[in-house]
């Protein structure tokens, strides 16, 4: 980073050594002290348990499959996936869920980070309590919220009823279930977004804020012109991470509604599990390929776009 960086010094030494053949010999000997076989165990695990399954999923998604033998049936699994309303709605739900949770985490996380890097009392406590749900078991969180949001006995509805407000069936109303789960997901995951935004905001040099204040900029203007544009890196990270998490999310849905009522809160990941359980391995794998393509189609251009756009001050 700075000119005193040892890495640049080494680079300089490398360039020098090119000019001096005896030095070059010494450099080569040091290189052989980084044995290539150090890769092999990691590569072996990656290839066997990740790469082979991923690549073979493209073939098996085109088959009727019992794990022991497979029969090629072309695109039938995909046709079924996008024709059967129980299956293709999961595709739409996945999109809604990912965009909703990701967007909420960006907005809430940013303002929480602003609050928690600002001058307020009880900051350490607030940071700890916002972040803690990130670390606890998703299944535990799911069961806990299922009880809190119980339509008849749950505490939330008891409070709503006390104030004379409507008491919705959070996880039992077909029109609401997916959004209730998204809410629980945001509750659990906003801490990590806050943490990343806090790291981003703290990294902004203080001189910018001081200069702006001397120039008489209002708090709102400082936020719009300095904090938001200079937290772009953190924003990109939060969007990418929470979108990946949202598109792949399974645990929280399985622990609260199991995709129900009916299929109204099914996402691709839960369809993959249900079809696996039912023994339709080819169809399950087709769901996996759909999820893979969806994640790739969204993430590749998005990360390219988010990383390339320069910051304008």
């Amino acid at each position: 980073m700075s000119t005193a960086n040892p890495a640049t010094a080494i680079q300089a030494a490398d360039i020098l050594s090119e000019a001096h053949p005896p030095e070059k010999k010494k450099r080569r000997s040091i290189k052989s002290f980084y044995p290539t076989w150090f890769f092999i165990p990691a590569v072996a695990l990656y290839v066997i348990f990740f790469a082979i399954p991923t690549f073979s999923s493209f073939y098996f998604s085109l088959t009727r499959w019992t794990l022991f033998d497979s029969q090629f049936i072309g695109f039938d699994n995909f046709v079924q996936f996008f024709r059967d309303p129980q299956l293709y709605t999961s595709f739409i739900h996945t999109l809604i869920y990912a965009v909703l949770t990701s967007g909420a985490k960006v907005i809430i996380g940013f303002f929480l980070a602003l609050l928690l890097t600002g001058p307020i009392i009880g900051r350490a406590y607030l940071r700890a309590v916002v972040f803690f749900p990130v670390l606890i078991s998703t299944i535990g969180v799911g069961i806990m919220w299922k009880s809190l949001l119980d339509p008849f006995h749950g505490m939330v509805n008891a409070v709503l009823g006390f104030f004379g407000l409507p008491q919705p069936g959070w996880f039992t109303d077909p029109n609401l279930a997916l959004y209730s789960i998204a809410g629980v997901d945001i509750w659990k995951g906003v801490g990590i977004a806050t943490l990343i935004f806090m790291a981003g905001i703290v990294a902004i040099p203080n001189e910018y804020f001081e200069a702006a204040r001397i120039d008489g900029a209002s708090g709102w203007k400082i936020l719009r012109q300095i904090t938001i544009p200079l937290s772009k890196g953190a924003t990109a990270t939060v969007i990418i991470l929470s979108l990946i998490g949202g598109l792949r999310s399974f645990d929280i849905i399985w622990a609260t509604t199991g995709g129900g009522p009916g299929f109204t809160s099914d996402v691709i990941a839960s369809v993959i599990y249900k079809q696996y359980q039912a023994g339709f391995y080819g169809l399950s794998t087709a769901g996996n390929v759909v999820l893979f393509l969806l994640v790739t189609v969204i993430m590749v251009p998005l990360s390219y776009f988010l990383n390339r756009k320069p910051v304008e001050l």
Binding site: P53, I121, G122, Y125, P133, I136, S137, Y281, N288, L291
Partner: protein, 277 residues
């Protein structure tokens, strides 16, 4: 100045009150439920237990269903310890060489490491591979799977950190007669201690909390992990909400301890790993 201070107090107090409602009340609810009698817990009310039987529920939960939770705790401990040990060692080795060697394969390796972070694992084909290796439904198979799924994250952290260790150290060690393995074990790995701690803590929490992995790849009553035990428990024991919430409390203890003692490492791991992803 005083105006700024009153503002700090007012905003702080509002934030604390909101945090109590949003975060502490749900946690308190779990604790209160865990201390109640079965009939009282079944009303799901946010109330103080009339008879306080926290300790009794503690033992009842651990010993319910023939002590399935004991077995789950042991299984989860074995799974977490071994998979994290493997993933730390392998990714430290790979990250170290990746950071030191500049080769034309760099971009390719980068691509696969990032793919490992983004791509959702193909579940049924993974089961097919595991069955081919006779590892499906076995603890060693599950350990290798968890180790594989954590590799990308760890390699990124290790590579970034090794980049900050001056190469002169390697050269000095080599001049003193160290071989490649000695160089790695005795010189580089001790310097990596801060990242090693971070990786161990963060990945232990991940593996311990993983639900989908054991759900797919580790079926069978003997192999149950804590997350699966809790999930099964929630389906069966609807008349014993007190024990269910005690189980939630029990499996929250390990992450809680990790958070109390390794707060800084967890924050460092989550943000630095995140920035790379």
């Amino acid at each position: 100045m005083t105006r700024a201070r009153t503002r700090a107090w007012i905003v702080g107090i509002i934030a604390i009150l909101v945090s109590i409602v949003v975060f502490l009340v749900p946690f308190a609810f779990v604790l209160l439920q865990a201390a109640k009698t079965p009939s009282e817990a079944s009303t799901l009310a946010f109330s103080w237990p009339t008879t306080f039987q926290f300790l009794q529920n503690f033992w009842d939960t651990l010993n319910s269903n023939d002590g399935v939770l004991w077995r789950a705790i042991i299984n989860s401990a074995v799974l977490t310890i071994f998979s994290v040990a493997i993933m730390v060692l392998l990714s430290a080795m790979a990250g170290y060489v990746l950071a030191r060697k500049r080769s034309k394969w760099g971009p390719v390796v980068n691509f696969f490491v990032l793919a490992g972070l983004i791509v959702p694992p193909a579940v049924v084909p993974t089961i097919w591979v595991l069955q081919g290796l006779k590892l499906f439904g076995t603890m060693p198979g599950m350990i290798l799977i968890e180790a594989t799924f954590g590799l990308s994250f760890c390699i990124l952290l290790f590579r970034a950190f090794v980049g900050n260790i001056p190469r002169e150290l390697d050269e000095a060690a080599v001049l003193d007669g160290a071989g490649p393995i000695r160089l790695f074990w005795r010189v580089v790995l001790p310097l990596l201690r801060p990242v090693v701690v971070t990786v161990i803590v963060v990945q232990s929490v991940f593996v311990f909390n993983d639900f989908a992995g054991p759900l797919y790849f580790l079926p069978g009553d003997q192999n149950v992990t804590v997350q699966l035990a809790l999930y099964t428990f929630s389906g069966q024991n609807l008349s014993f909400y007190n024990l269910l919430f005690m189980a939630i409390f029990l499996i929250t203890i390990p992450p809680l301890i990790a958070y109390i003692f390794f707060n800084r490492q967890i924050v460092a791991g989550m943000t630095s790993g995140a920035v790379k992803g």
